[in-house]
Amino acid sequence: MIGAEAIIKCLEAEDVKYVFGYPGVAICPFYNSILESDIKTVLVRTEQSAAHAASGLARITGKPGVCAVTSGPGATNIITGVATAYADSIPLIVITGQVKTDLIGSDVFQEADITGAVESFVKYSYLVKKAEDLPRIFKEAFHIASSGRKGPVLIDIPIDVQNDNIKNFKYPESVNLRTYKPTVKGNASQIKKVIKELAKADKPIMCIGGGVQLGQADDEVIKFAEKHNIPMVTTMMGIGTIPTDHPLYFGMVGNNGKPYANKAMNESDCVMMVGARVADRAISQPDLITKDKVLIHIDVDPAEIGKNAVSSIPLVGDCEAIFEDLNKEDFSSDTSKWLKALEGFKKELKIVRKPNKKYVDPQNFIETLTDKLKDDAIYIADVGQNQIFSCAYAKIKKGKFLTSGGMGTMGYSIPASLGAKLAAPKRQVVCVCGDGSFQMSMCELATFVQHGVQAKIIVFNNNFLGMVREYQHYSYKDNYSMVSLDGSPDLEKLVKAYGFDYLRLKTAKGLSEIIDKFLEDKNNCLLEVMIDPMDLVK
């Protein structure tokens, strides 16, 4: 057996169903051996999309997504996708081909020091030197990517290692990592302290981050909140953990969040941050969540605790394990007055938009769309105004809300929706992007067609890079620079060239019918929604 065959055996042992990638000479042994396997390959149109697609798949399956690209430009092109996954703690296995071992360091054709270049965007990386090491390295890589705080692991494999013989292939049953042992169980005395503080608190609140879904702790966390009637807010990455119509849910926090959610955090006397890193977009003034209040910070990554805000009670461990323990504890609390006050904030701080009737109002559109979606639908937002509108108005029931929160990578949604749809072919997957982000990933339309994956893409067209335009509106007094998207293609002609169906919505007229038509379409479909170029998210 050669190294490349061993890699495939490793992926099969990890129950990998799809590999997203782009070939080149240095990864050819791998893509040759994979032909003998049931693992399906998906050829994307640019390497960055391979990482986003693997990330979309990982966020639905909960298991690492796998992508494989060639050396040099293939490897460097995937970095943005890897960094995007890293920022949101998404588990990926990134395989890169490399030039022959004895040529490494001599600047030969398509050579790049990818383990060096990607060091700050991966949880760990390997440069494989012997084919014999492959089984151990893959076992470790899958373990590292999917345990503790999850994240991408890159494995760089020179072409000669892929071609070398392995005598006795055996996929290890367990890992033996002397230096890597993430904490799972929460410290028992800290758990007691948490309960004590919550029992004392009059105005407790839970702020849910992306870590809850990553740790598959949704059910335990909601059970805890419901048992004690603790209101919940989320960060952007936490959206969808709690059904948006849940009576205890009070919206997304942050500078693009709901004012009443922020007020709820500020007024609370006991904030419980769960799987959230207190990043600047969510909590712009960390002092406010620590001043005159108890801050309980639960995270699997000890380095996140105290990084941006000093907590009163740090609690390190896996969210699910911690909430299982917290749910065993009993305490009585009466939050009815506090919940009433929060309902008051909600009414008092409700944002009333004044939409321009000449265009479609994104709020009206997103609310109607998400009302019509099935309970378990997957909504994928890109980056820009479309993301902020989506965060504010999408109603998520038992489905998922995916977006690039940490890195804010434009072009994420289309390839991520490809991966998500492959992971859950029976679920509705809807991708919402702007005309800027669409054009960053429009090459991937062919990927949907080639692999028979249904695409449902909504493009908010305002002929602007809306989020930057909005920033220039506020910060540069409408001196616009580099934000006009003049020259964009006719989307109808473009998508029809790929065999897509095309729908367009110019005003609110016929909104409901067109959305129905879009969702019922069995073919690939793109719906272009004309929105006000001068609209502001806030």
Partner: protein, 166 residues
């Protein structure tokens, strides 16, 4: 700002030092000195890092380093509970008639003359950072041609803080 000495136990694998130093540079932490060498157990490397920062930064350094997959252990070497040493080689320009005075200073500091040439000599000196700084101050007036300092290595005193390896 305060100075701290951290002692790390890391996997003795290729690239481990670059992972550690890369972490320091990308997060904007200071490295005043870093030394590394294999331990009695060849699977591990011991790294001593002298760094500085305010309390929050130093806490983050400890946590971020601990998070690296290749790090077994990180602990602070507190001055009163540890031994620190550094070695320096100093090449000083020295005419034959200047030799006695330089040798005298070297003796006081328990240094050694390890090479003598007609125009210069090399002194080897070991000690804490302050001792070496002080010694270099005393050489003032003599031209230091080349200086090589190893950076600090350290160990905690006693058996209490030893990390026993399986």
């Amino acid at each position: 700002m305060q100075k701290k000495v951290f002692q790390l136990l890391a996997n003795n694998t290729s690239g481990v030092l670059s992972r550690i130093s890369g972490l320091f540079s990308r997060r904007g932490y200071n490295i005043e000195s870093i030394t590394a060498g294999v331990t009695a157990d060849p699977r591990y490397t011991r790294v001593t890092i002298v760094t500085s920062g305010d309390d929050e930064v130093l806490e983050q350094i400890e946590k971020q380093v601990a998070k690296l997959v290749d790090i077994k252990d990180i602990k602070e070497l507190k001055p009163d509970e540890s031994v620190y040493r550094e070695l320096a080689l100093v090449k000083v320009r020295c005419a034959p008639d200047e030799r006695p005075s330089i040798i005298a200073i070297t003796d006081i500091f328990r240094g050694k003359i390890v090479d003598v040439a007609t125009e210069c000599l090399i002194i080897e000196i070991t000690g804490g950072i302050e001792k070496i700084d002080k010694f270099l101050d005393l050489l003032e007036g003599h031209e230091i041609l080349e200086l090589a300092r190893t950076g600090m290595a350290g160990l905690s005193r006693g058996i209490e803080n030893v990390t026993f390896l399986p």
